[in-house]
């Protein structure tokens, strides 16, 4: 247990007076890849936001690399090497593509893969062609690439991806899935939220299924993919 990179124990979180997560626990070791599954409104985004310090959190044990992050503000958590790719993408629409990447840029670190600008453009060549375009004037798929690239520019040690496949055309989706697979192969630790199996099934080795803000199932990704009865019970709408 001590080698866990991200450890979450008894996490409760919510918005204003409403509590939507009730005591969630799981952990990821370095190089792990975990799918966070659950239906609409199950609490996946809230879990990720709670890790980032973007929503109100209860007194949980949240640690990253042995350091308590439960009461740190988002920018400190990000600076420890936690990269967040939000569901709504939240690109800076008024800034150019290159400027968006600049916002995400952080100093390189010895314990994480480095992402100099050129490498980001190699990963997503279309971004290079549009580097001076305002980000607001890009298609949804291009924006999704930009969001991922922007977060990678911070040279993160772990990537929290919130429904990266949502609303994407199949071709783009394949690109993103390939990219994520590449990142995983490089040893980046991944936490991917998905509503159904999606491409998380291809990338993740373990899964956590949420239901109404609680953990309904924890296990092997391949097992869940193979067991259609279990899948129906946990994920069908």
């Amino acid at each position: 247990m001590s080698e866990a990179m991200l450890r979450i124990e008894g996490l409760s979180a919510g918005y204003g007076p409403a509590t939507v997560l009730h005591g969630i626990s799981f952990s990821l070791a370095q190089g792990d890849s975990l799918a966070l599954l659950g239906r609409n409104g199950a609490g996946k985004s809230t879990t990720i936001k709670a890790i980032m310090g973007l929503v109100r959190r209860g007194a949980a044990t949240l640690s990253f690399d042995g350091q308590a992050i439960g009461s740190l503000p988002p920018q400190k958590i990000a600076r420890l090497g936690v990269g967040y790719v939000p569901e709504e993408r939240r690109i800076f629409a008024e800034l150019t593509v290159a400027e968006n990447l600049e916002v995400g840029r952080r100093p390189t670190r010895s314990d994480a893969p480095e992402w100099p600008e050129q490498r980001l453009y190699d990963l997503f060549p279309e971004l290079h062609a549009m580097r001076d375009r305002r980000a607001g004037r890009m298609s949804g798929g291009e924006q999704q690439m930009l969001t991922i690239a922007r977060t990678l520019a911070g040279n993160p040690r772990i990537l929290l991806l919130d429904e990266p496949a949502e609303g994407l055309a199949p071709v783009v989706l394949d690109r993103i899935a390939d990219t994520v697979a590449t990142l995983r192969a490089e040893g980046l630790t991944l936490l991917i939220a998905e509503q159904s199996l999606g491409f998380a099934a291809e990338v993740a080795s373990r899964c956590v299924v949420l239901e109404s803000g609680q953990i309904a199932h924890t296990g092997d990704m391949a097992e869940l993919a193979a067991d259609s009865a279990l899948r129906d019970r946990l994920l069908s709408v």
Partner: protein, 607 residues
């Protein structure tokens, strides 16, 4: 021809300093979403520091050292303000931020008076630029040409900073989505402090640049702030090129307006602002806010005092004069008058969801309406008191039409500009209003000449005000109003004409304020332009803040606290700072006001 050219250049020269100050205000607003009332204070500090530097080093090189030093000192003071005060209130509702920055204005006035004294100061001409050049046969001061050049130069440097540096990129990112920037590791706290310093430095530079043209006085802080508000709103909040365009537009209108309407140049500026805002509600180069503005606080306007409690309160009030002395009786009359004023603002802000920075306009129009009737038509008190709310209603109907087209800070700043117009009219229409000398000798009818009788008159008016405002809040009109406040789009979809409802609410609030103003004249026996000035508007905001914006009764609690505090603090020389300090404490510690304090403590417990 030559004359008009010269006039145009004068306008451009005045635009520069205004632009610097407005750019600073706009920049700070763009990033932190705080409308910084204390920006005028930073401008004033810049001017005084420049005078000191010139005094210390002589005209040469003093003047040229003065510009950067003034900018640096103002930037440092701005940084101090940001770290000690603003940082704690970024999440508070607009009203709190505004009132807190106004508290800083009060403190800055005392400190400035303490350091620099009350006497006006006159700066030297700028060395090397004290001559004139002749263009088209007109003599143009060289310093004006320097000022004219400073505008575009500053604009260009700011553009470089924001377009070409990492700092600029981060600031623009944080302006659009603070939370996302933070999630990417951007340290907003440092960024905000830096932006605040930059904006404050620009204000200080603007103040120093004015030294060769205008006297340096202790009132220059509030004098410039109204004009700067107009410019930032016309240009578009957060847009620096917009601030430049608007500064030129307004300055040119002033330069030429003075030829047509020498008396009331502010009216020209307001008219320009009204036209621009009706055509482009977010200013020349502004954009509508991307995220819907955060709704007021939770539970706004939901707390209610039951009718029984009101009945009890008024019963106690009716019996009070029997047990308290005359001094207290008079004090309570003040409380009731200001309480009505504050309640009308509470109605506007709570159920109406509209924050006004210029509510004194309607209180003052009521006061002047009554006083003018007595002075010029020799009307008796009854008529004067009947006309006061009607006059205020007419003014609110007129200005409200423009104001309700906007929302949030835009609306608030427009109300402030409206109040400044009325104030300027009262000051400048000497023959009619008595100008700065005001109207005196407006005494109540014999029947109410006695304090006790006046007390019951005021109480009767207060009961009427409470009944009207309470009924308005509970009626279908009030429910439509709160629906429009909480979810404007949904309300529109339900067939509620949001603007119309808000217009009516604005007018009603103005009417009640006018009623209070009418009483006020007869209580004081006189009226001066002060009743229309910014501090009077802010007083009402402070009372609502003290009492909490949730409840009508809060305004009464706020008014009582305010009157008592003022009475106590007035005995001290530094009363403004003391009042400012109390306001800051409340804004930082109890953003729900005193009436909200209870519910806040209750809410805190389970967490």
């Amino acid at each position: 021809m030559g004359f008009y050219f010269a006039q145009a250049l004068t306008g451009l020269a005045s635009a520069s300093s205004l632009f610097l100050v407005a750019a600073g205000l706009s920049l700070i607003f763009g990033v932190t979403r705080v409308v910084n009332f204390a920006h005028g204070s930073l401008y004033m500090i810049g001017a005084y520091v420049a005078m000191d530097v010139i005094g210390l080093f002589g005209k040469v090189p003093g003047f040229w050292l003065a510009l950067p030093i003034a900018a640096l000192v103002s930037a440092a003071v701005g940084g101090l303000i940001e770290v000690t005060v603003l940082r704690r209130i970024y999440r508070a509702p607009e009203m709190f931020q505004l009132v807190a920055t106004f508290a800083i204005v009060l403190i800055a006035q005392d400190v400035a008076e303490w350091i620099w004294g009350v006497a006006d100061r006159f700066g030297p001409r700028a060395p090397g630029l004290s001559g004139v050049v002749t263009i088209f046969g007109e003599r143009i001061p060289e310093y004006d040409l320097f000022l004219i050049a400073m505008g575009p130069i500053t604009l260009f440097l700011l553009w470089l900073l924001f377009a070409r540096t990492r700092f600029g990129v981060l600031v623009r990112a944080a302006t659009q989505d603070r939370e996302m920037a933070a999630a990417l590791g951007v340290d907003q706290a440092k960024l905000f402090t830096a932006v605040f310093c930059l904006g404050a430095g620009l204000a200080g530079l603007g103040g120093a640049m004015q030294v060769p043209r205008d006297a340096v006085t202790l009132t220059m802080d509030l004098e410039i702030i109204a004009e700067v508000f107009v410019i930032t709103v016309v240009g578009g909040m957060g847009s620096i090129p917009g601030a430049y365009l608007a500064a030129i537009l307004i300055s040119e209108l002033n330069a030429f307006g003075i030829l047509i309407l020498p008396e009331i140049t502010l009216i020209v500026a307001f008219a320009a602002m009204a036209v621009v805002l009706v055509i482009r509600p977010y200013g020349l180069l502004g954009r509508p806010p991307s995220a819907p503005e955060t709704p007021p606080g939770p539970g706004m306007g939901t707390l209610r005092l039951p009718a029984m409690a009101w009945g009890g309160l008024f019963l106690v009030m009716a019996l009070l004069p029997l047990v308290v002395d005359q001094f207290m009786t008079v004090l309570i009359i003040d409380i009731m008058i200001l309480g009505m004023f504050a309640m009308s603002l509470q109605f506007l802000m709570g159920p109406g969801g509209m924050v006004s920075f210029g509510h004194a306009a309607y209180f003052g129009v009521g006061a002047y309406g009554a006083a003018l009737l007595v002075r010029h038509l020799e009307a008796d008190m009854g008529w004067a008191l009947a006309v006061a709310p009607v006059a205020a209603a007419a003014a609110a109907l007129f200005f409200g039409w423009f104001c309700v087209r906007l929302s949030g800070v835009y609306l608030a700043m427009l109300t402030l500009a409206a109040a400044q117009i009325v104030w300027a009219a009262a000051v400048q229409m000497q023959d009619f209003t008595g100008g700065d000398d005001g109207l005196t000798g407006i005494w109540p009818a014999k029947l109410f000449g006695d304090d006790l009788a006046f007390y019951y008159l005021a109480l009767a008016f207060a009961v009427i005000a409470v009944l009207v405002l309470r009924q308005a809040t509970r009626s279908p009109f009030g429910r439509a109003l709160t629906a429009a406040r909480d979810a404007p789009l949904r309300a529109e979809a339900l067939g509620i004409n949001v603007q119309n409802q808000q217009w009516m609410a604005f007018t009603l609030a103005g009417t009640v304020a006018g009623l209070a103003g009418g009483l006020y004249v007869f209580k004081k026996g006189s009226v001066f332009p002060d009743v229309l000035a910014i501090p009077q508007s802010v007083d009402a905001l402070i009372m609502v803040l003290l009492g909490g914006v949730d409840v009508l009764a809060g305004a009464l609690i706020g008014a009582s606290t305010f009157v008592v505090l003022e009475d106590v603090f007035n005995q001290f020389e530094a009363w403004r700072s003391m009042l400012g300090g109390v306001i800051l404490l409340i804004a930082m510690l109890a953003p729900g006001g005193m009436a909200g304090l209870g519910s806040m403590i209750r809410r805190r417990k389970p967490a």
